[in-house]
Symmetry: C2
Subunit: 338 residues, 2 copies
Amino acid sequence: MKSRVQIYDTVLASVFVAMLLLAAFAVAPAAAQEVLPSWNDGAAKTRILDFVKATTTENGEGYVAPDDRIAVFDNDGTLWSEQPVYNQLAFVFDRIKALSPEHPEWKSKDPFKSVLSGNLAAVVQSGPKGLVDLLTVTHSGMTTDQFSKIVADWFATARHPKTGKPYDEMTYLPMRELLDYLRANGFKTFIVSGGGVEFMRPMTEKMYGIPPEQVVGSTITTEYAIVGDVPVLRRLPKLDFVDDGKGKPSGINKFIGRKPIFVAGNSDGDYEMLRWVTAAKGPRFAMIVHHTDADREVAYDRKSAVGKLDKALDEAERRNWLVVDMKSDWKKVFAFEK
Amino acid sequence: MKSRVQIYDTVLASVFVAMLLLAAFAVAPAAAQEVLPSWNDGAAKTRILDFVKATTTENGEGYVAPDDRIAVFDNDGTLWSEQPVYNQLAFVFDRIKALSPEHPEWKSKDPFKSVLSGNLAAVVQSGPKGLVDLLTVTHSGMTTDQFSKIVADWFATARHPKTGKPYDEMTYLPMRELLDYLRANGFKTFIVSGGGVEFMRPMTEKMYGIPPEQVVGSTITTEYAIVGDVPVLRRLPKLDFVDDGKGKPSGINKFIGRKPIFVAGNSDGDYEMLRWVTAAKGPRFAMIVHHTDADREVAYDRKSAVGKLDKALDEAERRNWLVVDMKSDWKKVFAFEK
């Protein structure tokens, strides 16, 4: 039989082991996990880390209270790929094809004709008007619930033409790590995209950990209606708000209602947002994702029909916006890379 | 000198005391604090507690994951007073008076004339068109930053005509407790009001613990502009979205992007929102604040020019919406009551 001392020794040892395990568990996630592992060490990563450290160091000069740590991200070309065409446009093309049997007139009418014949360059060249026509036809006439299902079904089956991957895997791993890192430091992350808000919302939680209510985008007008005693929202063929270019600051103001302290974009469509955010008083951080990697993704900027980056690139240095060079700053672009 | 056993006794006793203290601390906040203390015990309070218990009990039949615990609240007449006129209208009247020296023509032109002469009944009777005129004149022409300051300054100085209290104290204590209670149970609380979103946002965190990005309301069109190399948003004399009546489901869909499971309103302006939310599958809770207390507040419903409650009251029983009787269900209406 054990003595009382022996029993106490055993009990105390167990308590201490348990406490050590608890302590180890409490610090393990932070200690074991490298910050921004898919970013190469260098100026870009350092600037991001320095900003987060400054804004989260209590009593520091650049401290920002957690409630004000609003971070906004463009989506196309910033969080996920936008080449060869915006993913939402690939959705539109697929929907046009699926709906074409009901619309024989489309065979001789642009931009529908170009979509059906697979002439994507001609579609892109049809400009905003043509795109609006395509968006309206494919994005209206159904209820909001029906549209969400159409979107989710498309993501489940459609594949990216170059990589063959589902579109929800076409996200940039370093940017997802950046979202996680900011959230771990008390930032609230939002998408502010020119894309349709109801095209993004069914997928953003899974893709980025961003819930529907933190997605700002372009909107279509919806109308309350009773169908067989059931209230629904019908999507009307009428654009409500275009959250791009000069619209982005208005979108942030309307949906979020305060100025972000961190903003990320990749094209001239983000220029006004970058300007508006960084002109505000207090610490502000702006970054541009520069598509420089023709091997792992696509290299494009000033002359691209999709995601043109020209004016914002010129002004980045003058305004101290970080330009992230995908080729040299990122170890990996996509999670599925070997 | 103490024996090893005595030392162990002491150490172990300390460890156990510490563990007991920690355990007590962990449960103390819930145990010590009464739930919804300004609500009388009765059917209304019980129904609320039962719904929250059911939706938060894991593995229970009515369990709802925390991410989906979206709760939306009308503001005027639901979270704060709306009598004798909407608080935002009191703001409008004060602004019209402040701006009138620059507009001599208002002296002979309704609805401005009625405002300046203090004929509030005539102003209310001027209907939506007159109200829009007043809102446009007082809510546009400045930048968003300037407007926020005008609003904050007004709240700092204006007083309610009946109580003499600042408007940010005209909130219903039981409803603030309900907001706190829902948040403590993992709900995310939003305002969905017909009021102007930029009139509410400067105050909602302080009044209700609701941050600006969780305030849905009516919006005015804003325009990005550069003023002396500084980007600003100008508020244009153009209504963008009216978040009232049939607009409320659209507002929820646009700004939040998913269906709430808890909804509170007080007037027919909330009817479609109540209908749309409760028609969705899964557990849903709807409540109507019925203004029945002429002593502590104001008694009004079917015939009131402000906050008319008629159709929604008729349908409440049939649709199993909770009707809260302010007089009998609330111990206190305002925090400042003795």
